[in-house]
Symmetry: C2
Subunit: 674 residues, 2 copies
């Protein structure tokens, strides 16, 4: 039974699993924990008996079928679809593919392949891989990668990684959470960023600190494992509780589509005899009533936690709901001048009320500045709306005139033929008649009958100038009075290096691999690590002092990677913008001062072809050019990493325009090898 019984909530995190011991009868395990009101949605169990070792089978003499069947379960117990829906396989903990002991290593390779083949045969959705042991996991990663490459199915591998050092762990090699992230990162790199390789984060400590999570922002953490001994009983109270730190972690994961697994298994320091003890023990407590008495308080507690802090714990607006669905989803950036815009596009944009409130406030101020009160009845302000669409800015301007008591004459210029029927109808309505003149033309070529006091436009892409606002407004400046006002009066693009594995993987996994990496994407980043503060890139101001002033730009940005986390991986850059509409009225997406309740703009994602590792205190240098060339607008990047140059040809093509961006970035580490 899911943590919440709400059909609207389709998040994966509402499913909760139980990690338990090996038992010969899977029907028994599922019956007690999932079906007969056991409360869990799925179980995580070893696929083979923990006492099985391939070499022992051979040692005990002649070949026998029974000995070669370590799984010791039938695929028809229970029926295959129950395996698929409710079982996550657990690869044996003893497996050590990099063991110095050759017998252990050989046994490990045989068993690893057998267990994964058995899981594939059962069509399981995923298997949990044990935490890499010791200092080396090259062979382990190679074997995992080989399986990921060869299996044609969608089965995922979840690599189990401790969040912090296990309590009472005698192994002192790893001390910091960052060490564990490095294990994951090197394993992931050896598996070539395979999108079917994910993280199962295992919380050992009852009191994890909040910053232990820092390394894991932007990573594909698919499940968070908590242990029954992390729960405590308060004041002799029966129900179980979790520490406040742990509650916060769980709240974070529930909101990031991460499933919770409750584990009743003690993983470390298990000798075979201990395993056998536990194994027998399960048969004893597998009696249904005692199982329920044992685990129900835990799941009840999680259920109430989900209600309090889960994804739908606060009522969401329709817009928030829609945004939930596109979190970390990539969308191709639209190409200005090329595509036929669709009616629904205008409609969606113009339903973004907050934008037009900001515009109204800017227009009001401009009107008041332009016409003193005593002349309000005399002076008529000429206002041109560039790319009028369905007329939302026309309407906004008329409202501003009404509110300020100023007289207005509006030219609504629209180059597309298709929105005109609607605009034309509006122009014949009472409020618009005799005030608004409709003009069908490209504003760059319009032969205006008179000069304008105010130019209002909304041509901002999610990166400010990427929808060619500078080029359009240069064209419109011809008919703006010497002292005329442009709303917006300026806009600036911003950049920030980010870690976002899901986003990178969906770009990489797309059909035409390289092509897709050479373009930018719109997205709503959610599970993201922002690795350094945003920095401003290019600014454009309107009206320009001289129209001849170029729209070419160049800038070098230097991002210093802060101390925490110690090291990270850069998957690409996030792009934002901030626009000054008029004086102190601004509008934008730059995180530190983003306009609230605006949903039209997403972030722009510039993926790197090869993610690069950065270390605390190192400097990531990015060079950006905006070039006015002959036919294309693009981005190109080169990454020089430790003075070894990677060419990341990174072209973003806008077909009919005439600008291009180039990016050149490299990282230099203060501390030597990263």
């Amino acid at each position: 039974m899911p943590l919440v019984d709400n059909e609207k909530d389709t998040s994966r995190s509402k499913l909760c699993g139980l990690e338990t011991y090996f038992n010969k009868s899977m029907t028994h395990i599922l019956g007690a924990n999932v079906f007969i009101d056991g409360g869990f949605d799925f179980v995580v169990v070893p696929l083979m008996s923990p006492t099985y070792r391939p070499s022992l089978v051979q040692q005990f003499g002649s070949f026998s079928i029974e000995a070669s069947l370590p799984c010791a379960r039938s695929d028809l117990d229970p029926m295959p679809y129950l395996w698929q829906d409710h079982v996550i396989g657990k690869i044996s903990e003893w497996i050590d593919l990099d063991s110095p002991d050759e017998m252990v290593r050989k046994d490990s390779e045989t068993a690893f392949k057998q267990e994964l083949a058995w899981a594939s045969y059962l069509s399981l959705q995923a298997c949990i891989l044990p935490t890499p042991k010791g200092n080396s996991w090259t062979n382990y990663a190679r074997c995992a990668n080989q399986f990921l490459q060869e299996q044609p199915k969608e089965m995922q591998l979840w690599l189990r990684i401790p969040l912090v050092k296990p309590d009472g762990d005698s192994v002192e090699i790893y001390r910091t959470p960052d060490d564990y992230w490095k294990i994951w990162n090197s394993f992931r790199l050896m598996c070539d960023h395979n999108s079917k390789l994910l993280v199962a984060l295992d919380n050992w400590s009852t009191m994890p600190s909040e910053n232990s999570l820092n390394s894991w922002y932007g990573e594909p953490v698919v499940t968070f494992i908590i242990h029954t001994n992390s729960f405590f009983t308060r004041d002799g109270d029966n129900p179980k509780h979790l520490s406040e730190g742990l509650q916060k972690l769980i709240a974070y994961f529930l909101n990031h589509f991460t499933q919770i697994i409750i584990s009743e298994v003690q993983l470390f320091s298990e000798s075979i005899s201990e395993v056998q003890h536990n194994y027998r023990n399960v048969d004893a407590i597998s009696d249904e009533a005692s199982r329920r008495r044992h685990l129900l308080p835990h799941i009840h507690y999680l259920r109430s936690l989900y209600q309090q802090v889960g994804p739908l714990s606060s009522p969401l607006s329709l817009q928030e709901h829609l945004q939930l669905a596109v979190r970390d989803v990539i969308q191709y950036t639209s190409q200005p001048f090329k595509e036929i815009l669709e009616s629904v596009f205008y409609q969606r944009q113009e339903s973004d009320k907050k934008i037009y409130m900001m515009y109204k406030s800017a227009i009001c101020q401009a009107l008041l500045d332009r016409v003193p009160d005593e002349k309000a009845s005399v002076i008529t302000i000429v206002l041109v709306v560039v790319d009028a669409g369905h007329g939302a800015l026309v309407k906004t301007s008329l409202q501003a005139a009404k509110e300020t008591g100023r007289k207005l004459k509006v030219y609504a210029v629209e180059k597309n033929l298709n929105p005109l029927p609607y605009l034309y109808k509006k122009c014949n309505e009472k409020d618009w008649k005799d005030i608004v003149t409709l003009v069908q033309t490209d504003v760059r070529y319009w032969n205006a009958p008179e000069k304008a006091d105010i130019l209002v436009s909304e041509l901002l892409g999610s990166f400010g100038d990427n929808k060619l606002a500078p080029e359009c407004l240069d064209g419109a400046q011809r008919f703006l009075k010497e002292d005329g006002i442009s709303i917006p009066s300026s806009y600036t693009s911003f950049l920030q290096p980010v870690k976002n594995a899901n986003l990178y993987n969906s770009v990489k996994g797309g059909g035409d691999n390289i092509l897709r990496l050479e373009t930018t994407f719109n997205t709503r980043m959610y599970n993201v690590a922002r690795l350094a503060p945003c920095q401003p890139l290019f600014t454009f101001t309107h009206p320009k002092r001289s129209v001849k002033e170029s729209n070419r730009r160049y800038k070098k940005l230097q991002f210093v990677i802060p101390d925490d986390p110690e090291s990270a991986i850069v998957h690409g850059f996030a792009g934002y913008f901030d626009a000054t509409l008029y004086k102190d009225v601004h509008l934008g997406t730059e995180p530190s001062k983003a306009t609230p309740d605006v949903f039209s703009w997403e972030q722009l994602f510039f993926p790197l072809r090869e993610p690069i590792c950065v270390q605390r205190g190192s400097t990531l240098e990015a060079h950006f050019w905006r070039c006015c060339g002959s036919t294309k607008v693009g981005f190109r990047s080169f990454v020089v990493f430790h003075r070894i140059s990677f060419h990341i040809s990174f072209l973003h093509l806008y077909s009919i325009s005439c600008i291009s961006y180039f990016m050149f970035s490299f990282v230099e580490s203060k501390t030597g090898l990263v």
Copy 2:
């Protein structure tokens, strides 16, 4: 409201549309015909006023916005999502892109582009294109193709093609249904088989003959248009009826996912004045009550027809339901020896009861032939099941022994480790114990302890020998007694040229174009024209007289295209098989004697890279080789068409096996140019 109110029925054909006249208010049209219980699910209406001509606008002097707005409707009347869901655009009938009159042609090009741009802007799902006029439609097809290539969206174009000569049409150019098919075929070829170009078949005659459909089997007919004047009133009865011939046509289309559109529009011989008359007339009858009185009997009649003959008119079994969903859907053929088979695969196959009934009957006969009644208690027959899987053939053999009262000793040989736990469990059960011996090995390398009387296997792919049954059974023959029996004792593959545009388009539309055309696909062909009777290809018999006898084969097939339809297009070949299990017990998919109620096998589809046109009486020649080479099994084809050679490299790769097929086929026409 759909024709049937049944959630189980998800077929597109349950939606019924109305074709009506232009009206300035789309809200009005939708209100009367779709929403206020109008009974239709969507409407087909012209996108622009029928009196609009671009040249007239320019002629009437200076530019005015009103004159440049021929659509004369706003995209917000009704809201965009209503346009998308309920309106199919109709491109103006007067448009003639190949007119000898230059003004008409120029007007046509301008209007054609404007109308399609407007439809794109509204995000419509489809537009109906008028029937090509006169003897030439090259420019028309070019413009349509340009639009299909350039628009990034999924909007479809439905080319309106008459099913038969319109009643009372004075134009005598086209006489036969085949002529109309040729128009469609040449248009489709000029648009390079674009999968967004579909047929809207327009029935003009009240009494179409049944064979008028012959040309249209296998074609992407998306809608069938019937006219209100095809309905008649019987015996002064109020409700409307259709002729029996038309009922049969409609039944065919309803079962082929084709939507029905009722048209109240007279298309041919409309002059502008007539159009204007009708146009005004619509305003008069658009009064809601009279509209309903006028059209409700038609839709009520269709609704009752749907209940009688629609896709769910007879209760379907679960299997039939599942098959409905995969009609004409392509699936990659599995690669033997390579993939890990999944548990669900065995389970699905072994739930195909009819197959095992046939096997039981064959085994019974073999046992009776082998052991006379009087020796039934003395002789024990040794039976080997090759690739036992979950043991369905073992179970079948034991049942046959019980029914015939013969004694049996069974070896169940299975190479895969994964089904063994289940088989092992079965071997310890009462019925199997002491009779069945489980052996885990590849049968080709098995060192059998004794020779077998009977070899039972189910290694047949949908093309007989394509799962390497000959190679496997050759390996097993080593341990079969001299006079031993193999069940199956022989199998033959069959081929047939087919027309199936949907299937061809889905192969062509796949990501990696050429690669996909160079493989075969499993499919359940449904909307298909079988262009000539099946012919047998290769036969394999077991046991072989000499194991050294090669499994290489070569055969030339000659398919004579029958007289009706006069011409057609070949998209590829359909492959079937028929197996003789023992004596007169056979099992197979070859259409003329397919085993009923068997669902495990689909057909194999061999797509041609370029479909080829064939004409009545012409001969299609296909050469097939099955080669035992070093590492690959494949098909390769060359098509020589009118002595011009097309190379169709057509490789179907099986990775670990050691055979290959080659295909070489060409068509020669008796009557000259096709």
